[in-house]
Amino acid sequence: MWKLIIFFVVGLRKKQGIIKICARLSEYTIFLLLFLLGFLMGGSPVIKNVLSMGIDAVLLSVFSIIGSILAILPFEKRLR
Protein backbone atom coordinates (compact mmCIF):
# COMPACT_ATOMS: atom_id res chain seq x y z
CA MET A 1 0.00 0.00 0.00
CA TRP A 2 2.77 2.45 1.01
CA LYS A 3 4.70 1.55 -2.10
CA LEU A 4 1.64 2.42 -4.15
CA ILE A 5 1.29 5.83 -2.47
CA ILE A 6 4.99 6.57 -2.96
CA PHE A 7 4.76 5.58 -6.63
CA PHE A 8 1.70 7.79 -7.02
CA VAL A 9 3.40 10.84 -5.47
CA VAL A 10 6.50 10.28 -7.60
CA GLY A 11 4.28 9.74 -10.62
CA LEU A 12 2.54 13.06 -10.06
CA ARG A 13 5.75 14.81 -11.04
CA LYS A 14 5.44 13.54 -14.56
CA LYS A 15 2.21 13.29 -16.51
CA GLN A 16 3.45 10.16 -18.22
CA GLY A 17 3.97 8.65 -14.78
CA ILE A 18 0.38 9.35 -13.81
CA ILE A 19 -0.90 7.69 -16.96
CA LYS A 20 1.20 4.59 -16.29
CA ILE A 21 0.04 4.39 -12.66
CA CYS A 22 -3.59 4.82 -13.72
CA ALA A 23 -3.25 2.09 -16.34
CA ARG A 24 -1.72 -0.28 -13.78
CA LEU A 25 -4.35 0.57 -11.15
CA SER A 26 -7.19 0.05 -13.62
CA GLU A 27 -5.72 -3.36 -14.52
CA TYR A 28 -5.77 -4.42 -10.84
CA THR A 29 -9.30 -3.03 -10.41
CA ILE A 30 -10.47 -5.02 -13.45
CA PHE A 31 -8.85 -8.20 -12.06
CA LEU A 32 -10.67 -7.71 -8.76
CA LEU A 33 -14.00 -6.86 -10.38
CA LEU A 34 -13.85 -9.90 -12.67
CA PHE A 35 -12.93 -12.10 -9.73
CA LEU A 36 -15.99 -10.74 -7.90
CA LEU A 37 -18.20 -11.24 -10.97
CA GLY A 38 -17.01 -14.85 -11.18
CA PHE A 39 -17.42 -15.27 -7.42
CA LEU A 40 -21.02 -14.06 -7.51
CA MET A 41 -21.74 -16.16 -10.61
CA GLY A 42 -20.16 -19.28 -9.08
CA GLY A 43 -22.20 -18.90 -5.93
CA SER A 44 -25.52 -18.54 -7.76
CA PRO A 45 -27.57 -21.16 -9.67
CA VAL A 46 -26.59 -19.34 -12.89
CA ILE A 47 -23.36 -21.39 -13.06
CA LYS A 48 -25.35 -24.52 -14.01
CA ASN A 49 -26.32 -22.88 -17.31
CA VAL A 50 -22.80 -21.86 -18.28
CA LEU A 51 -22.84 -23.89 -21.53
CA SER A 52 -26.05 -22.32 -22.85
CA MET A 53 -24.74 -18.92 -21.73
CA GLY A 54 -21.60 -19.52 -23.78
CA ILE A 55 -23.65 -20.36 -26.88
CA ASP A 56 -25.74 -17.19 -26.38
CA ALA A 57 -22.52 -15.17 -25.96
CA VAL A 58 -21.06 -16.51 -29.22
CA LEU A 59 -24.32 -15.86 -31.10
CA LEU A 60 -24.54 -12.27 -29.82
CA SER A 61 -20.91 -11.71 -30.71
CA VAL A 62 -21.38 -13.02 -34.26
CA PHE A 63 -24.46 -10.84 -34.81
CA SER A 64 -22.66 -7.77 -33.39
CA ILE A 65 -19.73 -8.34 -35.75
CA ILE A 66 -21.97 -8.87 -38.78
CA GLY A 67 -24.03 -5.78 -37.86
CA SER A 68 -21.00 -3.54 -37.50
CA ILE A 69 -19.40 -4.79 -40.73
CA LEU A 70 -22.61 -4.25 -42.69
CA ALA A 71 -22.90 -0.74 -41.25
CA ILE A 72 -19.45 0.38 -42.45
CA LEU A 73 -19.53 -1.18 -45.94
CA PRO A 74 -20.81 2.03 -47.63
CA PHE A 75 -17.71 3.85 -46.33
CA GLU A 76 -15.26 1.45 -47.95
CA LYS A 77 -15.70 2.94 -51.43
CA ARG A 78 -15.42 6.53 -50.16
CA LEU A 79 -12.07 5.83 -48.55
CA ARG A 80 -10.53 4.35 -51.70
Binding site: I19, F35, M41, G43, L59, S61, V62, F63, S64
Partner: protein
Protein backbone atom coordinates in the same frame (compact mmCIF):
# COMPACT_ATOMS: atom_id res chain seq x y z
CA UNK B 1 -3.87 -11.85 -25.80
CA UNK B 2 -1.92 -12.44 -22.58
CA UNK B 3 -4.02 -9.84 -20.76
CA UNK B 4 -7.24 -11.55 -21.96
CA UNK B 5 -6.00 -14.85 -20.57
CA UNK B 6 -5.14 -13.27 -17.20
CA UNK B 7 -8.64 -11.78 -17.06
CA UNK B 8 -10.19 -15.17 -17.85
CA UNK B 9 -8.08 -16.78 -15.12
CA UNK B 10 -9.37 -14.26 -12.54
CA UNK B 11 -12.96 -14.81 -13.69
CA UNK B 12 -12.66 -18.63 -13.60
CA UNK B 13 -10.86 -18.46 -10.23
CA UNK B 14 -13.71 -16.34 -8.84
CA UNK B 15 -16.27 -18.81 -10.23
CA UNK B 16 -14.47 -21.79 -8.63
CA UNK B 17 -14.16 -20.02 -5.26
CA UNK B 18 -17.83 -19.01 -5.40
CA UNK B 19 -19.03 -22.44 -6.57
CA UNK B 20 -17.24 -24.42 -3.86
CA UNK B 21 -17.89 -21.77 -1.21
CA UNK B 22 -14.18 -21.51 -0.34
CA UNK B 23 -14.71 -17.99 0.99
CA UNK B 24 -17.95 -16.84 2.55
CA UNK B 25 -18.56 -13.13 2.14
CA UNK B 26 -22.07 -11.72 2.71
CA UNK B 27 -23.44 -10.42 -0.61
CA UNK B 28 -24.09 -7.01 1.01
CA UNK B 29 -20.35 -6.46 1.42
CA UNK B 30 -19.38 -7.75 -2.04
CA UNK B 31 -22.05 -5.56 -3.62
CA UNK B 32 -20.93 -2.31 -1.97
CA UNK B 33 -17.26 -3.17 -2.52
CA UNK B 34 -18.05 -3.81 -6.18
CA UNK B 35 -19.76 -0.38 -6.37
CA UNK B 36 -16.70 1.47 -5.08
CA UNK B 37 -14.35 -0.53 -7.29
CA UNK B 38 -16.48 0.31 -10.31
CA UNK B 39 -16.37 4.05 -9.47
CA UNK B 40 -12.59 3.84 -9.14
CA UNK B 41 -12.35 1.98 -12.46
CA UNK B 42 -14.51 4.53 -14.30
CA UNK B 43 -12.41 7.36 -12.85
CA UNK B 44 -9.18 5.65 -13.97
CA UNK B 45 -10.59 4.93 -17.43
CA UNK B 46 -11.57 8.61 -17.65
CA UNK B 47 -8.00 9.67 -16.84
CA UNK B 48 -6.55 7.22 -19.40
CA UNK B 49 -8.88 8.39 -22.18
CA UNK B 50 -8.47 12.08 -21.30
CA UNK B 51 -4.69 11.89 -21.17
CA UNK B 52 -4.44 10.18 -24.57
CA UNK B 53 -3.75 13.49 -26.30
CA UNK B 54 -2.85 11.89 -29.63
CA UNK B 55 -6.25 10.25 -29.96
CA UNK B 56 -8.11 13.37 -28.77
CA UNK B 57 -6.18 15.68 -31.13
CA UNK B 58 -6.68 13.20 -33.94
CA UNK B 59 -10.44 13.53 -33.53
CA UNK B 60 -10.31 17.20 -34.52
CA UNK B 61 -8.01 16.73 -37.47
CA UNK B 62 -9.79 14.00 -39.37
CA UNK B 63 -12.69 14.43 -41.76
CA UNK B 64 -16.33 13.65 -41.20
CA UNK B 65 -16.24 10.26 -42.92
CA UNK B 66 -13.72 8.93 -40.41
CA UNK B 67 -15.79 10.24 -37.50
CA UNK B 68 -18.87 8.53 -38.96
CA UNK B 69 -17.20 5.10 -39.04
CA UNK B 70 -17.27 4.47 -35.24
CA UNK B 71 -20.81 5.86 -35.08
CA UNK B 72 -21.90 3.38 -37.76
CA UNK B 73 -19.96 0.58 -36.03
CA UNK B 74 -21.83 1.39 -32.80
CA UNK B 75 -25.22 1.42 -34.54
CA UNK B 76 -24.45 -1.80 -36.42
CA UNK B 77 -23.11 -3.59 -33.37
CA UNK B 78 -26.04 -2.66 -31.13
CA UNK B 79 -28.53 -3.36 -33.93
CA UNK B 80 -26.88 -6.69 -34.74
CA UNK B 81 -27.00 -7.80 -31.11
CA UNK B 82 -30.64 -6.63 -30.96
CA UNK B 83 -31.43 -8.81 -33.98
CA UNK B 84 -29.47 -11.64 -32.38
CA UNK B 85 -31.83 -11.52 -29.40
CA UNK B 86 -34.31 -13.43 -31.60
CA UNK B 87 -31.98 -16.45 -31.55
CA UNK B 88 -30.82 -16.51 -27.93
CA UNK B 89 -32.47 -17.42 -24.67
CA UNK B 90 -32.17 -13.92 -23.21
CA UNK B 91 -35.70 -12.52 -23.04
CA UNK B 92 -34.73 -8.86 -22.65
CA UNK B 93 -33.89 -7.08 -25.92
CA UNK B 94 -32.10 -4.26 -24.09
CA UNK B 95 -29.75 -6.70 -22.34
CA UNK B 96 -28.73 -8.14 -25.72
CA UNK B 97 -28.21 -4.64 -27.11
CA UNK B 98 -26.08 -3.73 -24.06
CA UNK B 99 -23.88 -6.78 -24.73
CA UNK B 100 -23.45 -5.50 -28.31
CA UNK B 101 -22.65 -2.04 -26.94
CA UNK B 102 -19.58 -3.51 -25.23
CA UNK B 103 -17.79 -3.21 -28.63
CA UNK B 104 -15.17 -5.73 -27.49
CA UNK B 105 -14.31 -3.72 -24.35
CA UNK B 106 -15.09 -6.81 -22.26
CA UNK B 107 -13.48 -5.80 -18.98
CA UNK B 108 -15.51 -2.64 -18.52
CA UNK B 109 -18.78 -3.63 -20.25
CA UNK B 110 -19.14 -6.96 -18.43
CA UNK B 111 -18.64 -5.34 -15.06
CA UNK B 112 -21.14 -2.53 -15.76
CA UNK B 113 -23.74 -4.95 -17.20
CA UNK B 114 -23.15 -7.40 -14.34
CA UNK B 115 -23.65 -4.64 -11.81
CA UNK B 116 -26.82 -3.29 -13.44
CA UNK B 117 -28.52 -6.54 -14.53
CA UNK B 118 -26.95 -9.41 -12.58
CA UNK B 119 -24.03 -11.75 -12.90
CA UNK B 120 -25.61 -14.03 -15.56
CA UNK B 121 -25.79 -11.37 -18.27
CA UNK B 122 -22.47 -9.95 -17.02
CA UNK B 123 -20.87 -13.34 -17.70
CA UNK B 124 -22.45 -13.48 -21.16
CA UNK B 125 -21.14 -9.97 -21.91
CA UNK B 126 -17.63 -11.02 -20.87
CA UNK B 127 -17.62 -14.16 -23.04
CA UNK B 128 -19.27 -12.42 -25.99
CA UNK B 129 -16.81 -9.52 -26.07
CA UNK B 130 -13.75 -11.75 -25.59
CA UNK B 131 -15.01 -13.86 -28.50
CA UNK B 132 -15.32 -10.69 -30.57
CA UNK B 133 -11.68 -9.81 -29.97
CA UNK B 134 -10.46 -13.35 -30.66
CA UNK B 135 -12.54 -13.52 -33.87
CA UNK B 136 -11.01 -10.27 -35.09
CA UNK B 137 -7.48 -11.47 -34.35
CA UNK B 138 -8.05 -14.77 -36.14
CA UNK B 139 -10.21 -13.69 -39.07
CA UNK B 140 -8.71 -10.28 -39.96
CA UNK B 141 -6.92 -11.61 -43.08
CA UNK B 142 -10.09 -13.35 -44.31
CA UNK B 143 -12.21 -10.25 -43.63
CA UNK B 144 -9.78 -8.02 -45.54
CA UNK B 145 -9.61 -10.36 -48.51
CA UNK B 146 -13.27 -11.28 -48.94
CA UNK B 147 -15.29 -8.46 -47.33
CA UNK B 148 -13.57 -5.08 -46.94
CA UNK B 149 -10.40 -3.57 -45.53
CA UNK B 150 -12.52 -1.72 -42.99
CA UNK B 151 -14.09 -4.99 -41.77
CA UNK B 152 -11.44 -5.84 -39.10
CA UNK B 153 -11.79 -2.28 -37.73
CA UNK B 154 -15.56 -2.73 -37.43
CA UNK B 155 -15.18 -6.19 -35.97
CA UNK B 156 -12.50 -5.14 -33.49
CA UNK B 157 -14.64 -2.27 -32.16
CA UNK B 158 -13.02 -0.60 -29.15
CA UNK B 159 -10.05 -2.98 -29.34
CA UNK B 160 -9.04 -1.57 -32.75
CA UNK B 161 -6.92 1.03 -30.93
CA UNK B 162 -4.88 -1.49 -28.94
CA UNK B 163 -5.01 -5.30 -29.03
CA UNK B 164 -6.24 -5.75 -32.60
CA UNK B 165 -4.34 -2.75 -34.03
CA UNK B 166 -1.43 -5.00 -35.00
CA UNK B 167 -3.48 -7.26 -37.28
CA UNK B 168 -5.36 -4.27 -38.71
CA UNK B 169 -2.07 -2.54 -39.54
CA UNK B 170 -0.76 -5.70 -41.16
CA UNK B 171 -3.78 -6.74 -43.23
CA UNK B 172 -5.79 -3.55 -43.84
CA UNK B 173 -2.73 -1.38 -44.38
CA UNK B 174 -0.90 1.55 -42.83
CA UNK B 175 -3.53 4.09 -43.96
CA UNK B 176 -6.21 2.26 -42.03
CA UNK B 177 -4.26 2.29 -38.76
CA UNK B 178 -5.21 5.94 -38.08
CA UNK B 179 -8.89 5.13 -38.67
CA UNK B 180 -8.53 2.13 -36.32
CA UNK B 181 -7.09 4.27 -33.51
CA UNK B 182 -9.81 6.92 -33.84
CA UNK B 183 -12.50 4.24 -34.10
CA UNK B 184 -11.20 2.54 -30.94
CA UNK B 185 -10.91 5.81 -29.01
CA UNK B 186 -14.46 6.93 -29.80
CA UNK B 187 -15.97 3.49 -29.07
CA UNK B 188 -14.03 3.23 -25.78
CA UNK B 189 -15.54 6.56 -24.70
CA UNK B 190 -19.00 5.39 -25.76
CA UNK B 191 -19.01 2.09 -23.78
CA UNK B 192 -19.47 3.56 -20.24
CA UNK B 193 -22.06 5.99 -21.64
CA UNK B 194 -24.12 3.72 -23.91
CA UNK B 195 -24.27 0.54 -21.78
CA UNK B 196 -25.97 2.18 -18.75
CA UNK B 197 -28.11 4.28 -21.12
CA UNK B 198 -29.44 1.19 -22.91
CA UNK B 199 -30.13 -0.59 -19.62
CA UNK B 200 -31.75 2.40 -17.89
Amino acid sequence: MRFSLILLVFFVLGSVVGYFGLISIPSVYTSSFEDYLLYVLLFLVGISVGSDTKAIQGLFKVNLVIILIPIMVAIGSIGGAGFGSLFVRIPDLRECMAVGAGFGYYSLSSVIIGKLRGEAIGGIALMSNIFREVTTLLLAPVMCRYIARLAPIASGGATSMDTTLGVIYRYSGKDYAVIAVINGAILSILVPILVPLILS
